[in-house]
C-alpha cells in the first residue's frame, strides 16, 4: 500500500514515520502541508513534531493547511489515518477526533519507554496486535494529557474507542490513562506514543511499535 506521511512546518518525526512505513512493508509517500493533494495514497500518517512551534496550541495552526482539507475528506470516506503525538493533536484540533491534549500534569516534556495496553485491535492500525497486548513504545511529549468531558469519555469507553492505555504510572495525567483513541468508524486513530521510534532493536525501545505499520496489510485483507 502507499502510505502518505505529511510534513508540516516543524514536523520532526516525518522521516522516522516514513522509515517505519517502509519497515512495515509499505511504500512511504511524502506529502507536503501546502499541497491540497494526497498523491493517490491509501492511508495517511500525521507525524510527530512541533508544527508551527506548537506555540499557540499543539496542532492548532496545522489543521488549516491545504493538505488537511484533503485528509479530512479522505478520513470521512474511510481512509485509514494515524496521527502520532503532534498528529494526534492535529486530529483533535480538526475535530476528526474528540477531546483535546493539554500540558502534562507535571508541566515537563517527558521522554521515556512507556508500557501500554492495546485495547482495541479492530482498527486498521492495530489489527496486528492481540487485544489486550502489552507493549512498550517510546513516549515523548510536553502536551500529551488527553482531556474530554465525562460524557465523551464514557462514550469512548462504551464504544470501545480507547485504542491504547498507559500501564503503570500515568506519565502525563491523561484522563482514564488514555494513550490513543479512534473515531466512530475506527479508521482514524490518534496516539500519543511514538510507534515509529519502536521499530528497530538498535535505535528505539525495541520493535513493539512495528505492528502499527504492519496492521495495514492485515486490515486490507481482513
Amino acid at each position: 500500500m502507499k502510505v502518505g506521511v505529511v510534513t508540516f512546518p516543524g514536523s520532526l518525526d516525518d522521516v522516522d514515520a516514513q522509515r517505519a512505513v517502509g519497515l512495515g512493508g509499505h511504500e512511504a509517500v511524502a506529502l507536503w502541508h501546502g499541497d491540497a493533494d494526497l498523491r493517490g495514497v491509501d492511508a495517511v500518517v500525521l507525524p510527530g513534531g512541533f508544527s508551527y512551534g506548537d506555540y499557540l496550541r499543539c496542532g492548532a495552526i496545522s489543521r488549516f493547511s491545504p493538505v488537511m482539507t484533503e485528509v479530512v475528506a479522505a478520513a470521512e470516506r474511510g481512509m485509514p489515518v494515524l496521527g502520532i503525538c503532534n498528529g494526534f493533536q492535529v486530529l483533535c484540533e480538526s475535530h476528526l477526533l474528540p477531546g483535546a491534549l493539554i500540558r502534562n500534569q507535571r508541566q515537563k516534556f517527558l521522554c521515556l519507554d512507556q508500557p501500554l495496553r492495546i485495547e482495541n485491535n479492530r482498527t486498521p492500525w492495530t489489527s496486528a496486535y492481540d487485544e489486550g497486548a502489552e507493549v512498550t513504545i517510546v513516549l515523548k511529549n510536553g502536551e500529551g494529557s488527553f482531556v474530554a468531558d465525562t460524557e465523551t469519555l464514557d462514550r469512548l469507553e462504551g464504544e470501545g474507542r480507547v485504542v491504547a492505555r498507559y500501564l503503570g504510572a500515568n506519565p502525563n495525567g491523561s484522563l482514564r490513562d488514555i494513550a490513543g483513541i479512534c473515531n466512530e468508524r475506527g479508521n482514524v486513530v490518534g496516539l500519543m506514543p511514538h510507534p515509529e521510534h519502536s521499530v528497530e532493536e538498535l535505535t528505539g525501545s525495541g520493535t513493539d511499535g512495528l505492528g502499527f505499520f504492519t496492521s495495514l496489510v492485515a486490515a486490507a485483507f481482513a
Partner: protein, 610 residues
Amino acid sequence: MPTPTTPTDALDTVEAALTDPDRVQPWAELGLKEDEYARIREILGRRPTSSELAMYSVMWSEHCSYKSTKVHLKQFGELAQETTAGKMLAGIGENAGVLDIGQGYAVTFKVESHNHPSFVEPYQGAATGVGGIVRDILAMGARPVAVMDPLRFGPLDADDTQRVLPGIVAGVGGYGNCLGLPNIGGEAVFDETYLGNPLVNALCVGVLRHEDLHLAKASGVGNQVVLYGARTGGDGIGGVSVLASETFDEGGPAKRPSVQVGDPFMEKLLIECTLELFAAGVVAGIQDLGGAGLSCATSELASAGDGGMHVHLDRVPLRDSTLSPEEVLMSESQERMMAVVEPDDVAAFLAICAKWDVEAAVVGEVTDTGRLEIDWHGRRVVDVPPRSVAHDGPTYERPYARPDWQDALQADVAEALPRPAGGEELRATLLRMVASPNLCDKSWITDQYDRYVRGGTVLAQPEDAGMVRVDEETGLGVAVATDCNGRFAKLDPYAGAQLALAESYRNVATAGATPLAVSDCLNFGSPEDPGVMWQFAEACRGLKDACATLRTPVTGGNVSLYNQTGDTAILPTPVVATLGVIEDVTQRTPSGFRPVADGTPGDEVFLLGE
C-alpha cells in the same frame, strides 16, 4: 509604537568623521582600551564613525577576538591536521572542524558556551546556546544530527540552583526537542564555585557528504549577499561586549534588553531551508549569525573572501524600526544566516526561502575594493578593511603565574582523609556517594530531552558516550563523549585537561568507536588574574601534549572567560569532547552488565588495568 528615527543629521557618517575629527567617542564604555582605540584610528587614518566603533568594539572583545587566549590556543594548530581516518576537511578557524569518516561522509562537531546569558535568564540563555551551536554546524553544509549539553551548577540544594537548573534544563530541552535533534548525552556537575556562574556548554554534531562542504567566505565580485531568517531586533545589544566579557558585578548600562529570546520553530525552518539551498547548489558562501551579529558575519565573510563587500544596512528587515545603524550591526537576534549567492541564483534562492516561510533580503554584494563598505539610507557609515575587524584584533600576552596556594592544595592529599572503618561506615559512605548529585542517576534531567527523534540514536543516556547512525545501509556511525573533572583541573590544570581528554577518549573507545578528534570548551575565570591565566595556559599545554600523544587533532572549540563571582573563579573547567567513528553501529558496546535472562547467559566481567 515610537516613530522611527531613520536618517537624521545625527547620523555619524564617514564624511562626518572627516569633517569632525575630534569628536569625543565612548570607546571606554564600549569596552575598548585606550591603545585599542588608538589602533583603530591608526588603521582608518581618522576617527571611526560610531558604527565602525561599534563593530570594532564588539569584534575586538574578548568573546570574539580571543585576545587573551590566542597565544595559547595557537599551539593546537601545531598538531597534525589529520586523523586516523584521513585528512581534516576543515580545521580551526572555520565555524567548526570537519572530519572525513569514510564512505564519502564527513562529520563536523563543536562545543560552545552560553554561560553568562544562562545565569541572567536560564531558559532563554540555554535555549539560544543550543540554537547558536546548531547554526555553526549548519553553516558548514552539514545536517545537524544530535546535541549534547555539558552543564555545571552550584550545589543542588542552593536557592539559586532552584532558579537556574530547571530553567536551563527546560531551555536545552525546549529548543533541542523543537528542532528535532536527539540529545545523546552531556554532563550535570555540581560545585560551590558554579553557584553564581553556572556553565551551559552545548555541543552539536552534523553530517555531510564531502562535496557538500561549505565555507564562510564572500568571493566572486558581483555576487549577492543575502540575509535570511528572523528579523533583526534589539536583542542582546551590548551582550557580546558587556555580557560575555565582563563579570556581572561590574554591571553596565543596557539601553536595550540584553536577553535574547529564541524561536526554535524559526530555526527548524532555517535548517530545512538551508539544507535545501545547499542541495539546489545556490550557496556560494555562508555564515551563521551568532555573537556580534552582522558585524561578525559581514567582516568575516568579506575578509575570508577575495575582495570587499558593500552592504545596504537599511535593507535589513527589522523587527523594531527604531534601531540605529550601530544597533543593527551589533544586534544578536537569533535564527539568522547570511549567504553569498551568484546573481543568477538569487531568484531560486529566494523561492526556496519563500517555500519555507523564511524571510530573505538581498542586503549587499561582493566587490573588489578590498573594503567593507556599509551604507545607511545611501550614506556611508562604515568603510574599513574587513580583516582589521575580523582577524587583526589585539593580542595580549597576559601575565600568568602559578598561584601561591597551589602547593598547599596539592599537599592536602586525599590519603590524609579518614577512611571508613568497618562495614557500617563503608555502607554509609557508599550510600552517601550514590545519593550525591554528582553521581546519582541523571534521568530526572535526561527524561526531559528527546533522545529518539531522527531514528538514528544508537546510544544515549545513561551510556558513557552518545552514538548515532550515519548511514542506514552500511551501519556507519559516530560516537561522542564530553568530560571534565574541574576538581582535578584545579589540583593540576595540566593533568586535569589531559584527564578530561583521556576520559572522553575512553568513553568513545569503550562504546566501540575509534576516537578521531576533539573539540573543547575552555571555561575559566578572569584572564586578568595571573593565577587563572596560569590555569588556562597549563590546561592548553596539557591538552595539546595529550592530543599529540593520542594523535587527535583539536578541530575547534570555544573559550569562556570571566566565569567568576566577585573574586572567586569557577573551578578551571576545560570540557573536552571526543568524536569517534564506528564502521558498524550494531557492533557498539553498551555499558552496564547484562544479567542472565531467559536462557541467555549473563555477561562475564573482567577488570582491565591496574
